[in-house]
């Protein structure tokens, strides 16, 4: 059920008796730019830390504890051409708590305070909070370096999108951009976001729309324009493969590859692309896992994944640095095998069974259910019944999978060379 609260501000309620909890997502969506990623991430930290009536983070923590350990978080992420600021809130359904019927309203009042009543004087955020959170964010962004798997995938992204600043920027921003942000500038941006972003509020739980409608109407969000640019990012295919080798003091080398697929979320080839990815590297029975890991013992992980909002597939492996060329050849052999139609009936069936299982499993997870409803509202072509979804998956043929493999074009290779002290 959906309800329009204002122009481009929507409420969606997913009633279910499955969980003992109520989950809320309030998503602010904007067009992605390089600068926005940093602004919105810093903003999310500041909003999450305190507010006018809860000026210390311990005040917020105490309030959440008092609401039976309710959880609140504000974060940022990106998808295709969109940047999201997500406020999430979850609490025990008051039905499980004696004499706590008012808890739901208390939860929404709290979220309203957090989002709309920040620790600010109308011109800028509290100075101390601003500086500390800015410093913490810079430390956080720098510490991504410590996690070598994440580092490798970010380096690959920046190589693949070398022609597009917004796309190569991580969803959480960049150190040099965060450093430049000024307090009043951020406060202005915050007000702009509240006025201009597309907003969707999704609520999941054993709950009636009638009960929550007045609670979200309190937010008083005003009308705003819809986002115009396509949410999907289209990239120009490059004639040469971009390559970067970086030597770091690590034990294990990381070889990551990026392919252009030009297949997008719920377009004509969506299901064939999912099956292709499953046969290639999505599962433990996939060709990459079976050949690079099981047959050749060259990796602990070797897998592929799809980004269907950017038409990209990536391959990630953790290997001995001296095996780089061998692994590159093995990956390419697996892709060629699928291109040539070397796909057994068993691989087809197994892959479909695994994708079907994943799809059903995702329905037992509150956040996954919320995300899938959001996408169904934003991309009506994905708003199909479960049966229809499963039928389309079932209908994918070997020839279609083969055709997907033929569309893959290697565009970037990032190699983190290990063993260097």
């Amino acid at each position: 059920m959906s309800n329009v609260l204002a122009k481009n501000v929507n409420l969606h309620v997913i009633p279910t008796k499955k969980y003992k909890t109520i989950h809320v997502l309030i998503r602010f969506a904007s067009e992605l730019t390089r600068e926005k990623a940093s602004l919105r991430t810093l903003l999310s930290s500041i909003l999450e830390t305190n507010s006018l009536n809860y000026p210390q983070q311990t005040d917020i923590s105490k309030k959440l504890s008092d609401m039976y350990g309710a959880k609140m978080g504000i974060g940022s992420s990106k998808k295709g051409n969109r940047h999201y600021l997500n406020a999430v809130f979850s609490m025990v359904n008051p039905k499980y708590l004696p004499n706590e019927a008012g808890l739901l309203a208390e939860g929404f009042n709290f979220m309203q305070e957090i989002l709309l009543n920040p620790n600010a004087d109308g011109m800028q955020f509290d100075e101390e909070t601003f500086h500390r959170e800015k410093k913490n964010l810079i430390s956080y962004v720098q510490s991504i370096y410590d996690d070598k798997q994440s580092l490798a995938s970010l380096r690959l992204q920046s190589l693949y999108y070398s022609e597009d600043e917004a796309q190569q920027t991580p969803g959480f921003g960049r150190v040099e951009d965060v450093e430049k942000i000024e307090n009043s500038e951020l406060f202005n941006y915050y007000q702009q976001m509240l006025q201009e972003d597309e907003i969707d509020i999704v609520i999941l739980g054993d709950i009636d729309e009638q009960d929550v409608l007045p609670l979200v109407q309190q937010f008083n969000f005003v009308d705003r324009e819809a986002l115009v640019a396509s949410p999907m990012y289209q990239r120009q295919r490059q004639l040469t493969v971009a390559e970067r080798v970086e030597k770091l003091p690590v034990q294990q080398g990381k070889l990551n590859l990026a392919y252009q697929t030009d297949a997008y979320f719920h377009d004509t080839h969506y299901f064939a692309m999912q099956v292709f990815n499953g046969i290639f590297g999505g599962f433990a029975h996939s060709k990459l896992f079976m050949n690079v890991r099981e047959k050749e013992s060259m990796a602990y992980y070797a897998s592929s994944s799809l980004d269907t909002f950017r038409g990209m597939m990536t391959v990630q492996t953790g290997i001995d640095s001296q095996n780089k060329e061998k692994v590159l050849a093995l990956v390419s052999e697996q892709l060629d095998a699928i291109r040539e139609g070397n796909i057994s009936e068993e691989e087809m069936q197994q892959t479909k069974a695994m994708i079907r299982n994943q799809f059903m499993l995702s329905q037992d997870n509150p956040s996954a259910s919320i995300e899938s409803l959001y996408l169904a509202k934003k991309f009506p072509q994905s708003d199909i019944s479960d049966d229809e979804w499963l039928n389309r998956l079932e209908a994918v043929t070997k020839e279609e999978v083969q055709a997907m493999a033929q569309k893959m074009e290697l565009q970037a290779i990032y190699f983190m060379e290990g063993g260097v002290a």
Partner: protein, 432 residues
């Protein structure tokens, strides 16, 4: 089959111990598509010295063997069990901890078939010298991946300081050198000793008909032969407070320093399961009151920029050991470590330990507990991992409710001691 209804949380648990000793628990969940099964043996990385089945002398096996065995269980004469699960639309996996090894699948379809596959593959070992050799490359890569993970290295740095002799300080996967020694014969020795049904439990949660499910498990187990098994004898090195390494420093490829304080549990804990669970809960509440995100101590450290969001603490209690650790990234490692020690050592008289704070945090713990029951994985993992005798995860409502300030003071008295504390500093490698 015993049926127990937990009315407060609206859950019903079915349990039975089979003639071969296998403990089975089933928890049906209304409205879910998924069924999640966890088959666990009470055998983990620390169980390195033991009397093998039918032998009188202790033997010592190479580091990392429990985890190696976990990997090798998936390979059979006629192929890989992952493939079979895949064909049956299930995701399978396994993991090894200090004291347990668990095998699992989750599926939304063909549950009976998948459950049979789970029971059968874990109960039919197949190791050859060739397949053992081949696995060494894969596990070698896994070890190297963890070697590059600063959090993992930091955690083991703390264990090294607290448990310098006990195998707890050894990486669960072992080392490249130790796994090189492992043979198929070693694997059979460990398998035969620790994978007896009487040392194992099976937990199934999610969509199911409990009667039919239990019948299937009974029948499956009755069709297999197991010899009667005496209790397993394990041996661990003697270790006293004097062995603890009070302060240590490691250098890693990180951008910022870290500081951690650890406390090793030196005193014996209650043997009664319910009391043990109360003890763990009280310890967890103590640290939340003292240093958690609602405390003045935390706020002061945050405002002085001694800590940021990376700060955290954990209390671990498992078969034969318990410890706590506190710390995170910081630009002032020495100051942070000193402050943490001061807060812990003066806990007895801390103004944070009031009735009001306790009831607030009990409220939070109760809510978090109810929220965690949404996750089938959480339920199964906790249930199979914890050894609290008759007491289970589902007794937590009562347990939380029963904790008083004197229980909190009790934890301080038996656990927080200066001689049990270690400090670990982690510095960026290039500043070595």
């Amino acid at each position: 089959m015993e049926k127990k209804v937990y009315e407060l949380i609206n859950e019903t648990l079915y349990t039975e111990t089979l003639p071969n000793g296998l403990k089975v628990a089933l928890l049906p969940k209304e409205g879910f598509h998924k069924t999640y099964s966890l088959f666990t043996t009470d055998y983990g990385s620390i169980d390195e010295e033991f009397k093998p089945l039918g032998q009188d002398e202790f033997v010592k096996v190479p580091d990392g063997i429990a985890h190696f065995l976990e990997h090798k269980m998936f390979e059979k004469e006629d192929g890989d069990v992952f493939q079979l699960f895949g064909k049956q639309g299930a995701s399978a996996n396994a993991f090894t901890s200090f004291t347990k090894t668990s095998y699992l699948f989750s599926s939304t379809d063909q549950v009976e078939k998948n459950l049979t596959t789970l029971l059968d593959f874990v109960q039919a070992p197949y190791f050859t010298e060739d397949t053992v050799e081949k696995e060494k490359g894969i596990i070698g890569q896994e070890i190297q991946m963890y070697d590059d993970d600063p959090n993992w290295r930091t955690f083991f740095g703390l264990l090294q300081a607290m448990y310098p002799k006990h195998p707890l300080h050894i990486d669960i996967a072992g080392t490249i050198d130790s796994i090189a020694e492992i043979t198929a014969e070693d694997l059979y020795l460990c398998y035969n000793t620790f994978y007896h049904p009487s040392n194992m439990n099976l937990f199934v949660v999610g969509k199911m008909d409990p009667e039919a499910m239990m019948a299937l498990i009974r029948e499956n187990q009755a069709s297999k032969e197991f010899t009667a098994m005496p209790p397993i004898e394990r041996k661990f090195p003697e270790e006293t407070a004097a062995d603890i390494v009070k302060e240590s420093t490691i250098y890693l490829d990180v951008t910022r320093p870290k500081a951690y304080v650890g406390i090793k549990g030196l005193e014996a804990l209650p043997t009664d399961g319910y009391e043990l669970l109360r003890n763990r809960t009280a310890a967890s509440l103590l640290f939340q009151m003292l240093i958690g995100t609602t405390s003045d101590n935390y706020l002061a450290m945050y405002n002085e920029e001694l800590v940021d969001d990376s700060f955290g603490f954990e209390f671990n209690m498992d078969r034969g050991f318990y410890f706590a650790d506190f710390g995170g990234d910081t630009d002032q490692p020495v100051e942070l470590a000193e402050r943490l020690k001061e807060i812990l050592l003066t806990a007895k008289d801390s103004p944070e330990l009031t009735e009001e704070r306790l009831s607030l945090l009990k409220k939070r713990m109760m809510g978090n507990y109810l929220q965690s029951l949404n996750s089938l994985e959480y339920i199964a993992n906790q249930f199979s991992k914890d050894s609290f005798g008759e007491a289970t995860l589902f007794d937590m409502v009562d347990v939380i409710d029963s904790i008083m300030l004197e229980d909190i003071q009790g934890v301080i008295n038996h656990f927080i001691k200066e001689e049990a504390m270690v400090t670990l500093y982690v510095y960026p490698k290039n500043k070595e």
